[in-house]
Symmetry: C2
Subunit: 115 residues, 2 copies
């Protein structure tokens, strides 16, 4: 269980740092609200951008990560950041990372866990 | 503060009930995972659907609600449910609900709070 507690901390640190880095660029950062959403009970972790610029709405999940059965599932990544690589750098082994954003039939061709 | 504690409970009950109602239809419900995401610390509440069907990915925020400064912000609703009406029925006054999914310039024409 300590291992999973570490994973929770790594994921939260990773998303918090990204939210503070104003990844949309300094000029756009003022127009949007960046939210980090951490549900520790259900193990869902998200980075979200939303806002209005005149009549145009922005609402999008940039990164979504779950922990299921002790494994870290990358479910969504609309950024150009290599999320799996970043999590491996933090100390999560590839065998405990599932690329949920790859189809189940393709996952076996990756270095990561299939399920 | 009791008022906001009530709002938190209403929102969580509302999203939990929806997640259990298999709103996507019984035939589709098996193909998708429904997540309720509750971040009580940052006051973000979300209903999300995700899954794979063969090579097709589904990932979408169905409903997203925030509480900011004691007001309930409906930020996203891709369902056909009248979320504001449901929250009013639960006991949240219109003056404490902001339709974040309406542009700021349009909100003054609604019966709800502007900010």
């Amino acid at each position: 269980m300590d291992r999973v507690a570490d994973y929770r901390r790594y994921i939260q640190d990773f998303l918090t740092n990204l939210s503070q880095a104003k990844m949309l660029g300094a000029d756009k950062a003022d127009e949007f609200e960046t939210q980090v959403i951490f549900d520790m009970k259900n193990d869902h972790y998200q980075l979200l951008h939303l806002g209005w610029k005149e009549q145009t709405r922005t609402f999008g999940v940039s990164i979504h990560i779950d922990i299921k059965n002790g494994k870290v599932w990358i479910q969504r990544n609309s950024t150009d950041i290599d999320v799996a690589h970043e999590l491996v750098e933090k100390g999560i082994p590839k065998s405990d990372i599932v690329l949920g954003l790859q189809s189940p039939s393709m996952r076996k061709y990756t270095e990561f866990a299939v399920i």
